[in-house]
């Protein structure tokens, strides 16, 4: 290879998008105002902010004191979802996406969403989790949104009570097979989210082909869940741990694992739930009834 390595590096640097004016203004306001004491302006990325060992120690003691009281609250909060989302405007682009949307699970009277019901529960690393209610039936539906080339792309993950694993993104609807979904739908009905038997709603994204398939762990978790960990099905080793912040876990880094499953851990680090095996890229094709995980992982 004869090209100068510095030139290659500079080309590597090119193409990074320019931050918009809103980001610029937010950063400026944070730096000159709230930056001295406020939390991160975008809240998508944790920045260490220890100013001194003494300050850290005081903070640690305070956190430990609070944790003692919090544990008792968190331990019985697998039914709760404190994040009710913030209302967002559903513009013509969003409505256009939705009008072409098809849900594939049996028994849900799909219809267009109420434009005034759109809420965003989280947005991190370029991925957002949204909810909206259907006009017909007032069902709560879940979406994962990504922006690509200035357009918003939404993948639907079904409406309550069937939301989550069985509901397929619209573009994969032919994979569903509604006949095969009856047992699963019955399971969903009897295991609503959030509940102790179903404290996690998996909305993961996947793609790629062959050995280049990837998975991006995304979803919602009940209040009692502190982190989601992805484990390799082959040997149970942890692939990634994603913190649950405001009931949402999002990791946009594409992970490459043959087969894996998710576990939910509470504030004490104890595993309180595990998913069925995920097989990327069809991460959304999951049967909750098939919950086999390696015995050596120590889960039932």
């Amino acid at each position: 290879m004869t090209t100068d390595e510095l030139q290659l590096l500079r080309e590597f640097r090119a193409g990074i998008p320019v931050p918009d004016d809103l980001t610029r203004r937010t950063v400026y306001a944070y730096a000159t105002g709230a930056g001295s004491s406020g939390s991160q302006p975008f809240g998508r990325f944790r920045v260490p902010r220890w100013r001194s060992r003494r300050g850290g120690l005081v903070l640690a003691i305070a956190v430990l004191a609070l944790a003692g009281t919090a544990v008792s609250v968190a331990s019985h909060s697998l039914f709760g979802l404190s994040n009710h989302g913030t209302r967002v405007h559903a513009g013509p682009a969003v409505r256009g996406v939705l009008n072409g949307h098809v849900f594939v699970q049996a028994g849900v009277p799909y219809n267009a969403q109420r434009p005034d019901s759109w809420k965003r529960l989280a947005r991190r690393q370029g991925i957002g989790i949204y909810t909206a209610r259907t006009i017909k039936g007032n069902h709560l539906c879940y979406y994962v949104g990504r922006r690509y080339r200035e357009k918003l792309y939404l993948d639907g993950y079904g409406c309550a009570p069937f939301a989550g694993e069985l509901a397929l993104p619209a573009r994969f609807w032919t994979l569903s097979g509604q006949k095969a979904g009856r047992k699963e739908n019955a399971w969903f009905r009897s295991h609503p989210f959030p509940s102790p038997t179903r404290p996690v709603l998996i909305l993961s994204l996947g793609g790629g082909q062959g050995e280049y398939t990837y998975l991006q762990p995304v979803g919602l978790a009940a209040d009692g869940v502190r982190s989601i960990q992805m484990l390799a099905l082959l040997d149970c080793h942890p692939v990634v741990t994603v913190p649950v912040i405001d009931n949402a876990f999002i990791d946009a880094n594409p992970l490459h694992v043959a087969e894996s499953f998710l576990v939910a851990r509470n504030a004490n680090g104890k595993v309180i739930w595990h998913s069925a095996p995920l097989d990327p890229p069809n991460a959304y094709v999951r049967t909750p009834l098939d919950r086999k995980v390696p015995r050596e992982c120590g889960f039932k």
């Binding site: 390595e5 640097r13 193409g15 990074i16 400026y28 730096a31 975008f42």
Partner: protein, 179 residues
């Protein structure tokens, strides 16, 4: 002092954001850029007016980026394995040219193999466009150390590009043809 905080913000916000974006992704860049300027604002009174501000600013950013070295390495490795740029993918764009993808995947692999200290010097030189003296100022290092680290990093890159270039390019082409 010949420049104000506002002047520096106006001049350096975009390059700094771009630099951090390339290293850790756009979302991380939003917060780390904000934190960098917040620290700069708080310490503005301590800044020596006779010294250039850019190395000082990138020095703050480097300290923050250093905490995320695992994330950076993970992203580079993912890029090397897949040929998909995680930063551009997050931002919703991509480089569709196969040769560019293959070459950058190799480069990402080589960068991931570098020691953090060497990568830092190299990227401040290549991406932040700081001179050797400015890097020394930025990282509080002797100039000789910067030069030797830069030299080692470049040599490592050259070796990697030469050694695995052909193999990786062939692998990515095979994958592309299979799709």
């Amino acid at each position: 002092m010949g420049y104000s905080f506002d002047d520096v913000f106006a001049a350096e916000f975009e390059p700094l954001h771009g630099y951090i974006s390339r290293r850790l992704g756009v979302s991380a860049a939003d917060d780390l850029t904000a934190e960098t300027f917040a620290i700069a604002y708080r310490r503005w009174g301590d800044l020596d007016p006779s010294r250039p501000v850019k190395p000082w600013l990138y020095g703050i950013a480097s300290n923050l980026i250093q905490h995320q070295w695992r994330k950076e390495r993970r992203m580079l490795r993912a890029y090397a394995r897949t040929g998909v740029d995680p930063v551009l993918a997050e931002a919703g764009s991509s480089d569709d040219r196969l040769d560019a993808r293959a070459q950058r995947a190799i480069l990402a692999a080589a960068l991931a193999q570098l020691r953090w200290e060497e990568r830092e010097v190299l990227l401040l030189h290549a991406w932040a466009e700081l001179s050797d003296a400015e890097i020394a100022e930025s990282l509080s290092l002797p100039l000789g150390t910067v030069k030797s680290r830069l030299s080692r990093a470049r040599e490592h890159l050259r070796n990697c590009l030469g050694r695995i270039g052909q193999v990786e390019a062939e692998r990515l082409r095979t994958v592309e043809e299979g799709r």
